[in-house]
Symmetry: C2
Subunit: 271 residues, 2 copies
DNA sequence: TGGAAAAATAGAACAGATTCTATTATCTGC
DNA sequence: GCAGATAATAGAATCTGTTCTATTTTTCCA
């Protein structure tokens, strides 16, 4: 059995071959035969199609990410190739996770696929978890983009929230293995999970209507946060094969209607 | 850094030395110098005081727990010593986790402490996760016992639910390391998490007032389940040091009031 | 342009979970 | 009381995350 270690994973239902992105992003060519070292040069091209090729929030500027003491040398030099390297790493990681889940996303393998040394990979991402977080970050970026392009239109806050959550759910479920890996890993992470929080902000935006912070009462924030945690839980349940989309949607609706009851009804009848 | 591996853990606030149990159970003598093989015979006595010495739901009857094919030999023989062995294992695991968290709960160490061979440990618990699940099971047993002895008295369903959840929270927080280890592990487990589900049932009981199943509408079950998932999430947040008891209580109250709004108000003015 | 600093690299090394093997102990049915 | 089965044991071995070292590249500045 090639499935040891703590974070055992994936027991999801089906697992479609390609297509990735929490918001229905591009597809994953995914086929490049595994064992394929790619030593020093010749970095593998587009393991994951494109997946919003933005330069995520990098860490490695020059001063060193881990616990380096050397002067932070403000010169954000070498940034170009570093960004590319970072991208290649994240893409390789995502591609690997899309298939075998976290288990397949082994550090050594990611390094190989990305064409970097193991040590380099660790310089960019101090731990596997950090890598996972990075991958998730990209996924969420995709979702936010999707929401912006096609904002939820329901007339009630609950309706809009459910819309967003179900959209996110379907997006994630396109790659059950990846979703499983990411979600579980994030829950464990001690790092500020960009998942729950970003999701909460996103929900607050669509539910409250106003993106401003003043609209967000402490209480509203708590309520939306609760809804987000319920969603995460349901996501885990569907991954465990204990829920269907309908059940999830139903449950989230039930909870959303009560939790977001007194949020300003429709964003406005005009818009 | 002695903190490698995926499931990095514990970043909790304080960590009192002894006392264990989600419901404020007995204390943990915990001190028996670690390295102490205890080869074949002489099993170590009471690593963890007593911790509800019930014979949990064992698995190893004789037919083998894993994926054995041999006839299930109904003869539940050797069960006596096996139960004891199982108990010693779980106790050793709990004791170790009470201190260093999951990290300290190393399979080799647990085996040593329990006085069994590594292979035997794996025969009883196919993976570390299974062991964690077993430990959690005992913790929940303690909570249920506590609830039975001193049932929540609030007049509203929400009030009673909050009472139970906060009691559970405080109980778990007595051993942040253990709590952290257990909760995180469970969330990951593919096995039917005895955590969320058992907690949900417990909540449904105190909230709905009636333990019968007919009272539990599909919807009520969903609502209580949602509350449970919110609680788990808050638990993780407090473990991450991002919440105080007050905040958790406040958030849970906010959610409970709305989610359990139309549950039968007081269980009865009499009682 | 020369060289020091920062990055990368290859690859060994280490740690802990899980597996496997050979051997011994304990039962169970007869 | 014995033979075959099942459990348990000791300990080596495997696997993967993480760390460490020596060396080479790359980048940048005086």
């Amino acid at each position: 059995m090639p499935t040891p270690h703590a974070t055992t994973g994936a027991s999801a239902a089906s697992h479609l071959p390609s297509a990735s992105g929490i918001a229905g992003g591009p597809a994953v060519p995914g086929d490049a035969t595994p064992g394929d070292p790619v030593p020093g040069g010749t970095p593998p091209d587009g393991v994951v199609e494109d997946r919003v090729a933005q330069d995520g929030a990098g860490e490695i500027t020059t001063g060193g990410a881990p616990g380096a003491q050397s002067e932070p040398a403000s010169t954000g030099v070498r940034t170009r190739s570093q960004h590319q390297r970072r991208r290649r790493i994240v893409q390789a990681a995502a591609a690997l996770a899309s298939r075998g889940g976290v288990e397949a996303m082994q550090m050594r393998t990611v390094a190989e696929r990305a064409g970097v040394a193991l040590g380099t990979l660790y310089r960019y991402f101090p731990s596997k978890m950090d890598l996972v977080v990075a991958v998730v970050g990209e996924e969420i970026d995709l979702l936010e983009g999707s929401i912006e392009r096609r904002p939820p239109s329901a007339t009630t806050a609950a309706g809009r929230a459910v819309d967003v959550l179900m959209r996110a759910t379907r997006g994630l479920m396109r790659e059950p293995e990846l979703a499983d890996a990411l979600i579980r890993s994030l829950i464990l992470a001690e790092v500020d999970t960009p998942f729950g929080d970003r999701m909460t902000d996103l929900l607050l935006r669509v539910a409250g209507g106003k993106p401003s912070a003043e609209t967000a009462t402490e209480e509203q924030y708590a309520l939306v946060g609760s809804l987000a945690s319920i969603w995460v839980h349901e996501l885990l349940e569907i991954l465990r094969g204990r829920r269907t989309y309908e059940q999830i949607q139903h449950r989230i609706e039930i909870a959303a209607v009560r939790l977001l009851a007194d949020f300003q009804p429709p964003p406005s009848t005009s818009n």
